[in-house]
Structures are given as structure tokens and as C-alpha cells.
């Protein structure tokens, strides 16, 4: 298994696609930074003009923490889409190039082969989120400095700079769980669909539907609690004034459980299906 993991990592590192994905995420960050640099102050002034007459804000509200929060919002769509495209490619490229046959003609167990892909997809996702957080931290704090964070979630919530940073770190960690779930979904879709373009469409569709179903009320709190689209925005809960840790922990645990179930289904399906 360790040999398969090493091989998967080597392939991922040597593939240009991996760097395209990291480049795409970095480009989005840069666009956010440039837009914020030139227009951010004007927009914030318009939004918070009345509040500034009643409250004192430490430092500029257009600061590194706000930029980090804006970048975090990429977890809704663009970041998972990039992750799903790259991670599904871990398997669909093998079908396209015929390397899946070559690999399975070696002394390798089918279950280990696919399991290694799931594990590497998770590792890649965590690296992407870490890269996204670190690169934004460096750029945003260097350019905009630190300051209090203002976030609108039902109401305006204000956080002191140090508190805001902690919440952002936790939000990235919780967001990483959601992104891991998406990457596991994309590998499972690749197991079923096999073809790259169709898998990308299915992944994008999954993402859109998940976002659409986020606000759907299933009637009973129990069902709502286990309905996976409602677990995808758990990272947002770190930006309510009071952090309720138990539901955050529970949501992420359920999401991880769903991820394990998906991995099991994908591995079982792959083991049963014909190759070629």
C-alpha cells in the first residue's frame, strides 16, 4: 500500500495539471487582492458609513482578515470545483491513457490501487487548502495588515483582530473537511463514469445541486441534521458571534462518516467492475 501511495504522489507531483490547479487558486486570490486594493475601501465606506458614526473600529476594516474571509468564500464553489476536476483526473486520466490496465496487469491488488487514489485525493485537497490559506495570509497581511473583522451573517458581526484570525483558522480547518468530502465524491464519480469530461460535468452538477439544496428544509430537524448539503457550510458557523462547538464537531464528524461510506462504495464498485 505504501508503494502505491508513493507512486500516486509521484504522479501527482509530476503532472502539470496539479500546478495548473494551484495556479488557478492563486490567480483567484490575486484577483480578490487587486480588486480589494483598488475598490475595497470605497465599497466598505458605503456599506459601513452609518456604523462608523456610532462605533470605533480598530485599524482599517479593509484588512488582511477581511481578505482572508473573502477568500474563504471561495469554498462555496470555485475551490471545490478545481479540487473535483483535479482529483477526479487522478482516476479518469488512468482510463484515458490506458495506464489503469497496465497498473492492474502488475502484481497489485485492485482495492489497494483505488484506495491509494482516495488517500492521495484527500492529501492533495489538504495541501490545496493549506496552500490557499498560507498564500492568502502572507499576501493579505503584507498588503493590508491586520484589523478587526466585520462579517454579515443574518446580522453584522464584529470580531477583534486576534479573535478573527483564530476563527479564520478554524473555518479553514472545517472547510477542509467539506473539501475532502467533495474530493471523495469526485473519485467515486470517476469510478462510476470513467470518462473525464462526463465526470467533470457530473462533479459540477453535484456542486451546483449541493449549493441549491443547502437551504432546503426537509421538515424534521433530524433529517436536516443528516442531510449532507446542510453540512457543507459548517465553516460559516465560526463567524457567528457565539461559536457553538458541538454542532460544528458533529457536522464535520457526519461529513467524514459520509466520506468513509463513499470511499467504501467506490472501492467496492471498482473491485467488482470490469476494467476496459
Amino acid at each position: 500500500m505504501s508503494a502505491l501511495l508513493f507512486a500516486e504522489l509521484l504522479k501527482l507531483i509530476k503532472q502539470p495539471k496539479t500546478y495548473w490547479a494551484l495556479g488557478a487558486i492563486f490567480l483567484i486570490e490575486l484577483l480578490i487582492l487587486v480588486t480589494a486594493y483598488y475598490q475595497g475601501s470605497t465599497i466598505l465606506d458605503i456599506l459601513l458609513d452609518s456604523l462608523k458614526q456610532s462605533f470605533y473600529f480598530e485599524g482599517s476594516l479593509l484588512n488582511g482578515n477581511l481578505i482572508l474571509y473573502i477568500v474563504l468564500n471561495g469554498l462555496w464553489f470555485n475551490v471545490p470545483l478545481i479540487i473535483m476536476i483535479v482529483t477526479s483526473g487522478i482516476l479518469t486520466d488512468e482510463y484515458k491513457d490506458g495506464t489503469i490496465q497496465t497498473s492492474l496487469l502488475q502484481a497489485v491488488k485492485k482495492q489497494h490501487f483505488i484506495l491509494a487514489k482516495y488517500i492521495v485525493a484527500v492529501a492533495f485537497t489538504l495541501v490545496v487548502i493549506a496552500f490557499m490559506m498560507l498564500s492568502t495570509c502572507v499576501l493579505a497581511y503584507t498588503i493590508f495588515g491586520k484589523g478587526d473583522l466585520v462579517v454579515y451573517l443574518n446580522t453584522l458581526n464584529f470580531f477583534k483582530s486576534a479573535d478573527a484570525f483564530k476563527r479564520i483558522c478554524w473555518a479553514f480547518a472545517s472547510g477542509a473537511v467539506a473539501m475532502v468530502f467533495y474530493s471523495l465524491v469526485s473519485i467515486t464519480l470517476a469510478v462510476w463514469i470513467k470518462e473525464a469530461a462526463k465526470t467533470w460535468i457530473a462533479a459540477a452538477l453535484f456542486l451546483v445541486i449541493t449549493n441549491l439544496l443547502l437551504k432546503l428544509d426537509l421538515g424534521t430537524p433530524m433529517l436536516n441534521h443528516f442531510f449532507f448539503p446542510k453540512l457543507m457550510d459548517t465553516w460559516q458557523q465560526f463567524f457567528y458571534f457565539e461559536i457553538d462547538w458541538f454542532p460544528i464537531f458533529l457536522n464535520n464528524a457526519i461529513l467524514l462518516f459520509y466520506g468513509v461510506v463513499l470511499t467504501f462504495i467506490g472501492t467496492w464498485t471498482f473491485h467488482k467492475q470490469d476494467i476496459g
Binding site: 509521484l10 490506458g98 497496465t102 496487469l105 502488475q106
Partner: protein, 284 residues
């Protein structure tokens, strides 16, 4: 012995294989001849356990961790990696040596240059086939399955690949099963031939047996061959440098001898056997 017995496979589009039995002994080179879509690749995938047959069994009597190596349809390579890196990946996943010396030995064995460090997407089809064979040979399998290995190769590439196949069979006692829709290539290297059509084995026998039973046309090359008397008895069709005659296999030696006596120096005599003849006239 690698043996597939009573193998059948159907897809929604219809039956692809019907009650096919095939066997290859160590060191033997078997050819599987059939038109495109006859079921050759499906049979190979079943033998390599990539797909499961609806009925029938595959037995490989060996203790090797990797009993069968192969290339099916095309050499499956990582296009963005070099030949050495491709070998490293496939060797690594089965925990066999990946040091530079071992990798170089695998490359030398199939006649690939050691100085090519560029991605294999730049390689010619012949080089890809050779690299595919090098990968198939990793971990010393006792059997090699090569699906259409000559497709996309120029005549020099074909000749060189045939040489490699003969060498692997003779020197390493590897049982090799190759498929093609071209009789000429298979007849040059196979000990035994199977003919498959519409998912069924319709003809089988040693290559000599098959040629002897079916050959009726020969292409003879010699200077001024058009002036030869003996060929007039055999419905000659004149080419620019050769003549094609219709002649039973029993008589070809006598024809060549007579040509020699008439003063013609024969430089080539090639039997012409078509797939259609083998499909339509099974060896009794």
C-alpha cells in the same frame, strides 16, 4: 500452462465471446488471428483477469506473483513521464527494484536508448510498444499477452519486434500470446495459431499445419521472372519485380527447383495467406 476454458462474454450490444478455449505453454508463441471486433481484446482482457467472463475459467499454473504481463489495445503509459520514470512507477507499485541500474537493464532488454529523458508522449509508436513490453516484463511473468503489437509500426519496427518476441520466448521461456489481423506477421513468429471470428475459435493448429493446409498463392521474386516457363502452369499475375502464382504447398519446392534449373536466381518466395481463407476453411 495458461489456459482459458469455455470462455463466454456478452455485453448489451451482443455476444462477444462464445465458448472459447485457448492454451499457451511456457516458451510457446501463439498467435490469435481475427478481424477487428472479432473478440480478440475481450479474450485477452479475460485471460489477464481485467474482465470477468460470464462462463468459463482461466487457469494459470504458476507460482509467480505476476503470472501474466501484457499490453492490451495500446501500451498504457504515463505520457508526461520519461521511459525510466514510467518503469519506476510500475516497478515501484509491486515493490521490485527501482534503482537506476535495474531500470536501465529493463530498457536495454527491449532495446530502448538510455539517453532519452523526455516524456514518452514524444516517443514513436515502436518505442512505446517496446516500453510497454518492458513494463509487461517487470516482475518476471511466465506469460506475455500482446494485443495487436504490430499496429502502427513500420516494417523495420515490425521486424525488430518479431526479433524481440522470438528472443523472449527462446531465451526466457516466456509463453507469448499475440493477436493481429495480419497473417504475415504472425506466421513469422508463432508456433501455433488460433483463428477467431465473431467470438468463436473457428480454426486452430500449428503455423506449419495452417500454412500447408491453406496456402495456395506465392509471391516469387527473381530477375526476369516473367520469362520463366514453369510459372505459366500456375495462373501467374505479373508484378513489377515479382510474380504471384496459385500453387498447392506440396508443389512449391518443385517449382523453385525448376526455376533454378531454368537459370532464374530466386531472391524471395513469400507465401500469401489471407485471414478469410483461414476463417472459411478450418483445418479438419
Amino acid at each position: 500452462m495458461l489456459a482459458g476454458t469455455n470462455l463466454s462474454k456478452s455485453y448489451s450490444s451482443g455476444k462477444v465471446l462464445e465458448n472459447v478455449s485457448i492454451q499457451i505453454a511456457p516458451g510457446q508463441i501463439c498467435g490469435l488471428l481475427g478481424r477487428n471486433g472479432a473478440g480478440k481484446s475481450t479474450l485477452f482482457k479475460i485471460l489477464c483477469r481485467l474482465i470477468k467472463p460470464d462462463t468459463g475459467t482461466v487457469h494459470v499454473y504458476t507460482a509467480c506473483p505476476k503470472p501474466i504481463g501484457g499490453i492490451i489495445e495500446k501500451p498504457g503509459l504515463y505520457p508526461y513521464l520519461s521511459a525510466a520514470d514510467n518503469l519506476k512507477i510500475f516497478a515501484g507499485i509491486q515493490k521490485i527494484a527501482t534503482d537506476a541500474t535495474s531500470i536501465n537493464q529493463h530498457l536495454i532488454k527491449v532495446g530502448l536508448p538510455l539517453d532519452r529523458k523526455d516524456p514518452v508522449r514524444n516517443f514513436s509508436m515502436g518505442m512505446k510498444q517496446r516500453l510497454g513490453i518492458a513494463i509487461a516484463l517487470l516482475n518476471n511473468p511466465e506469460y506475455l499477452v500482446l494485443d495487436e503489437p504490430f499496429s502502427g509500426l513500420d516494417p523495420i519496427g515490425v521486424a525488430s519486434l518479431i526479433q524481440l518476441i522470438l528472443q523472449l520466448s527462446a531465451e526466457e521461456n516466456i509463453g507469448i500470446l499475440l493477436s493481429s489481423h495480419l497473417m504475415a506477421e504472425l506466421s513469422k513468429c508463432c508456433h501455433f495459431l488460433y483463428v477467431i471470428d465473431k467470438g468463436k475459435i473457428v480454426n486452430a493448429g500449428t503455423t506449419n499445419q495452417m500454412i500447408h493446409a491453406h496456402i495456395q498463392r506465392y509471391s516469387i521474386t527473381a530477375k526476369n521472372i516473367a520469362k520463366a516457363q514453369i510459372i505459366r502452369k500456375y495462373q501467374p499475375i505479373m508484378g513489377i519485380n515479382d510474380v504471384k502464382i496459385t500453387c498447392p504447398a506440396d508443389e512449391i519446392s518443385a517449382v523453385l527447383q525448376t526455376l533454378f534449373q531454368e537459370g532464374f536466381a530466386v531472391t524471395a518466395c513469400t507465401p500469401e495467406l489471407t485471414l478469410e481463407q483461414l476463417i472459411e476453411n478450418p483445418v479438419s
